[in-house]
């Protein structure tokens, strides 16, 4: 088949907008719409025969979307890599709204070993209908392409999967460096604010805002790199790194919920300072290595209230302080209000409060706390939290959180049936691959430390195939996680 040449887009306009947000946002919007329409089309084709009128509207809509995309660029190229969908080189953001459509389309791509679908100029609704039906009846990309050609479908092209962007790719390395820098700048910003609170000076959050905005931008582009950084711990400055980790985890949840940028930024700030009340607790109590006395417990449990008072006293009542104060007050209340401080009358927790509560607990459980030098392995922490879904934690947000983190969250040490040991560096968002994360091999079958490959346990071409047989925690195995994420 001779492929018609892609349409010439307005090169000056395109170049002028290249890299600009308007291009990305528009393409993201159109891409998500395209994915959704593909999903609907395939669902409809599954139910109805080719000539059925029910297919007319989905196919016409899809063609219209393709035409809009072609206005911006020369081709509408939908492809998947790993667990993501791309419109040409733009990774499409999956959020709550597109959740079902995305996962189903990715699943469809994967089952048929299809890497991409390319819609060309002048594609017609008839061709789209034909494509949908042939899709449902074939099992491989090659067969599908042959059938499309045979049926005279000239404006839709199918391609097999291409390779992933490897983790050592220069673009990945740069992203990691930027993420790391932003992470440490955020710790500094938190420390400055906490010091202001300790010294009872006026509190400004300008620097914190800047870094949180940076985290939001990064989260929208590369969630996994940031989540990897939450495995970092500062033993002596636990509070600061904890605040940053809670911020990142909260942003991950917020992003999945589909919060807009500015709202995500607010969430990030609220999460960053959820423990501002701890600035009023003496360090020797906070960092105590033995059990708390009842009086010390009482002091610890007062930190949500101390945070409210400190911040309002030092910052006054404004939009930002309000949100920080609310999150700070609520984050230990528990979903069923069984936490602290005890309330005289019940209240409905804000969404911010519930999100930060989840993030706070997960990070605390997986941290090397001063008074418990053995952290919980991430997967164990998650399962412990799942037991309390509906009581301590909002059940729906718990599900969203598991979606973010996977069943084996980043930082989990896993033992494989081959005898190898790996550390989870990425999770799969799709439901059927949640139990098969992306790993970096750190010990070979003989137990020797290696700087091993990155492998995707869900990759059907992985050889030899591997499966997880157990998990371990890094502390007991004396594994330094930081070198994998820094």
């Amino acid at each position: 088949m001779s492929e018609p040449a892609p349409r010439e887009a307005n090169p000056k306009l395109f170049e002028a907008l290249k890299g600009s947000r308007i291009r990305d946002e528009n393409l993201n919007r159109l891409g998500k719409r395209l994915v959704y329409q593909v999903h609907i089309l395939l669902k409809t084709a599954h139910i109805h025969l080719a000539g059925n009128a029910a297919l007319a509207q989905p196919s016409e809509r899809l063609v219209k979307t393709v035409e809009e995309i072609l206005e911006w660029r020369g081709a509408a190229h939908l492809h998947h890599e790993g667990d993501h969908l791309y419109l040409d080189d733009l990774r499409l953001k999956m959020d709550l709204e597109g959740y079902i459509g995305f996962t189903e389309v990715i699943d469809n791509f994967r089952r048929r070993e299809i890497g991409s679908v390319r819609f060309l100029d002048d594609v017609s609704p008839q061709e789209v209908i034909e494509f949908a039906h042939l899709w449902m009846t074939t099992s491989t990309a090659g067969t599908l392409q042959e059938l499309l050609s045979a049926r005279g479908v000239q404006h839709i092209a199918i391609e097999p999967p291409s390779s992933h962007l490897p983790s050592t790719h220069p673009e990945r390395v740069t992203q990691k460096a930027v993420a790391k820098r932003t992470y440490f700048r955020t710790i500094t910003a938190v420390a400055e604010v906490m010091e202001s609170v300790k010294l009872k000076q006026a509190v400004g959050v300008k620097k914190s805002k800047r870094v949180v905005q940076g985290l939001v931008d990064m989260m929208l582009q590369d969630e996994m790199t940031l989540l990897g950084l939450t495995t970092l711990r500062s033993h002596d400055e636990y509070t600061y790194s904890h605040c940053v980790n809670v911020c990142i985890l909260a942003l991950a949840i917020g992003q999945r919920l589909g919060y807009e940028r500015s709202h995500l930024s607010d969430l990030g700030i609220a999460a960053l300072f959820h423990d501002v009340g701890k600035a009023e607790i003496p360090l020797d109590v906070l960092n105590k290595s033995t059990d708390f006395t009842p009086e010390e417990w009482d002091m610890i449990r007062r930190h949500p209230i101390l945070g409210v008072k400190s911040l309002l006293r030092l910052k006054g009542l404004d939009e930002i302080s309000t949100k920080i104060v609310i999150a700070g007050f609520e984050h230990h209340l528990n979903y069923d209000l069984s936490g602290y401080p005890r309330l005289a009358t019940p209240r409905k927790l804000t969404l911010f409060g519930r999100i930060i509560s989840l993030a706070d607990c997960y990070d605390a459980m997986t941290a090397s706390r001063v008074y418990n030098r053995i952290p919980l392995a991430p997967d164990k922490a998650l399962r412990l939290m799942l037991k309390k879904s509906g009581t301590a934690y909002d059940p729906l947000l718990m599900k969203v959180f598991v979606n973010c983190m996977g069943l084996y969250p980043v930082g989990t040490i896993v033992a494989l049936d081959t005898g190898e040991l790996g550390v989870v560096i990425g999770a799969h968002p799709s439901p059927d691959r949640r139990g098969r994360p992306i790993l970096k091999l750190i010990r070979d079958a003989s137990g020797r430390e290696v700087d091993g490959d990155t492998i995707d346990l869900a990759d059907p071409t992985l050889s030899p195939t591997r499966r997880i047989v157990s998990t371990a925690d890094a502390a007991s195995m004396q594994i330094d996680l930081t070198r994998f994420f820094l």
Partner: protein, 583 residues
């Protein structure tokens, strides 16, 4: 959106711009500087602001059409286009580049399609007041998210130091672990205070249990609804709720006071910002907490009452002065509701507020509240009256009239002798509303007021208090030489009042007036005819058979207009006879 770090390498070096292109960029920057100045000098609706903005947009478009994007490098005191400075400003405090550079901006690019709203927004960011502790140009640019602008921010040069990170596993295993026992987390979430008695899960997670991570369509919808509602969330209301919860916990006194103080500030800030409903809600919550039967201590209750009392002082009430002085239409119901919650001791503060309010609507609003609260503290209003300036006194008299309390009568009577006629009239009206024998006794005095409008009001009021003294006073006024000098309206009103109050008792006087019409010493035929006509009309108003007799006699013994008037009055009586008291 920031597109990168200033340390990032440029893949392609653009061609050096030519002279025309540079000049175009310079024109844009000149227009931008002028527009910023205009925004500082003129009010938002001023035509100059729009003119400068439109000129700026035109310059941008001109540049886009001819030369494409406008990409500017931000230097400490200059903006550069390519390698040429296109903006300079010697005054550092006015220098736009200095501000942008200080906030970390290193490059800003404007793109084809830039809209007037985006220019407005950008100018707003550059010229608006920022809260320097919380935001700067970069954070505001990010928040606004202009579609046709990109920018580059300085890389980390702020001295961020990597903390030394402890490793997650660099510690020896615990004794438990060494013994191969499952590790029960000790204080594992101690700082979160959650129960730490659970055993750590063993084995692998159950991948087949999709309930833990698969969201149903209903669940997704529920979350979407929550997220949408969150965007509209009233966070301040949530905060208030939290603060009152903290109060209800009734911790130590110091803590209680601190939170109470915060709520007090929220009330005052809300009032200042015109959010009266919010202030009302907070006050209501405090009052509910202070009620007997609530769980807080008596001491705490007393503290709340102190705050409640202080809210009624002038220092606190001053926060609403601006709201009361606003022009145009506004809804005062929320404000009245708030003020009505204040204690009776607030009357003094409200009087001070009333004195300062300059709009009629504002004064009416405060008066309405004084009427509600003044029931329990009328003495304060009465005491203030003698020393009040006339405009305040008038309003206080109005309030006293509405309160209709006899205790106010002496002060009001004094006010009926006030030099200012508006005060005298208001005092009369107020006394009328209060009623009582004293009011009836004092009416003849009002009839002698030097101001006609006061006299007229007194005549109207006299109908409610028909005393012989009043009839005598009215009669005397009719008989006096000065009657002729009164206005027609007053002359008529005198006879009307006489007829209404005196009824048949004044018929002899009327008869005398009619009979002696040519005997008046002033010898003005016109005025004597007018008086007789009034007398005839008065008889008609009385309307009794005796009055009708008088009219018949008058018709028979007079001529001209008087006879006609008598006949007409008689005819009217015969058609629809009515008596005084039945009208």
């Amino acid at each position: 959106m920031p597109v990168g770090s200033s340390n990032a390498d440029q893949a392609v070096q653009p061609e050096a711009p030519d002279r025309e292109e540079i000049e175009s960029a310079r024109e844009v920057m000149r227009a931008l500087a002028k527009t910023l100045k205009a925004y500082k000098m003129y009010l938002p609706e001023h035509a100059f602001r729009r003119r400068f903005r439109e000129d700026l947009l035109a310059r941008f478009r001109h540049h886009f059409d001819r030369h494409g994007d406008l990409v500017l490098t931000v230097k400490p005191y200059e903006f550069w286009y390519g390698s040429v400075a296109v903006y300079e400003e010697p005054n550092r405090f006015e220098n736009l580049a200095f501000r942008c550079s200080a906030d970390g901006l290193r490059e800003v690019a404007f793109q084809q399609g830039l809209t007037p709203e985006e220019i407005e927004g950008f100018i707003g960011i550059l010229s608006g007041d920022t809260r320097p502790l919380d935001e700067d140009i970069v954070t505001r640019l990010w928040e606004t998210g202009f579609a046709h602008m990109t920018y580059v921010v300085a890389d980390a040069t702020d001295g961020a130091v990597e903390p030394s990170l402890a490793t997650g596993g660099a510690r020896p295993p615990s004794a438990h672990q060494a013994a191969g026992q499952p590790d029960t987390p000790k204080n594992v979430v101690a700082d979160s205070g959650r129960s730490n008695e659970e055993t750590i899960p063993i084995g692998l997670p159950d991948e087949s249990d999709t309930r833990v991570y698969v969201l149903s369509e209903e669940e997704i919808l529920a979350l979407q609804r929550e997220v949408a509602a969150d965007a509209e969330q009233d966070f301040v209301a949530q905060l208030i709720d939290i603060l009152t919860s903290m109060l209800a916990l009734d911790d130590d006194e110091q803590s209680f006071l601190e939170v109470l103080h915060i709520l007090d500030e929220i009330i005052v800030t809300s009032l200042r910002q015109g959010q009266h409903r919010r202030a009302t809600e907070v006050l209501k919550q405090l009052m509910t907490l202070a009620e007997l039967g609530s769980r807080i201590s008596d001491r705490s209750r007393a503290l709340i009452r102190v705050v409640w009392t202080e809210l009624g002082t002038w220092e606190r009430l001053a926060a609403i002065e601006e709201a009361l002085n606003q022009r145009g239409a506004w809804d005062g119901n929320d404000l009245v509701e708030y003020l009505s919650l204040l204690p009776p001791s607030s009357v003094a503060g409200l009087i001070t507020l009333l004195e300062r309010v300059q709009t009629a609507k504002g004064r009416r609003t405060v008066c309405d509240v004084l009427i509600r609260l003044g029931k329990d503290d009328i003495e304060t209003i009465i005491r203030r009256l003698p020393s009040a300036p006339w405009y305040l006194a008038r309003n206080l008299i109005y309030v006293l009239g509405c309160l209709a309390d006899l205790r106010a009568l002496p002060a009001l009577e004094t006010a009926t002798r006030h030099p200012e006629v508006r005060i005298r009239k208001e005092a009369m009206r107020a006394m009328e509303l209060i009623g009582g024998t004293r009011v009836a006794e004092i009416i003849p005095q009002w009839l002698g007021d030097p101001d006609e409008s006061v006299r007229l009001s007194a005549m109207k009021a006299s109908r409610k208090f028909p005393l012989v003294k009043t009839i005598e006073a009215l009669s005397a006024m009719i008989m006096e030489k000065s009657f002729a000098r009164r206005s027609e309206a007053e002359q008529r009103e005198l006879f009307d009042a006489l007829a209404d109050i005196g009824a048949e008792a004044v018929l002899p006087l009327l008869r005398t007036l009619i009979a002696r019409k040519r005997s008046w010493p002033w010898r003005s035929l016109e005025s004597s005819d007018r008086r007789v006509l009034y007398a005839v009309d008065a008889a008609r108003r009385i309307g009794t058979p005796a009055a009708a007799e008088l009219l018949k006699d008058t018709a028979a013994t007079t001529s001209g207009s008087i006879r006609e008037e008598a006949r007409r009055a008689l005819h009217e009586l015969q058609r629809a006879p009515c008596r005084v008291g039945e009208r």
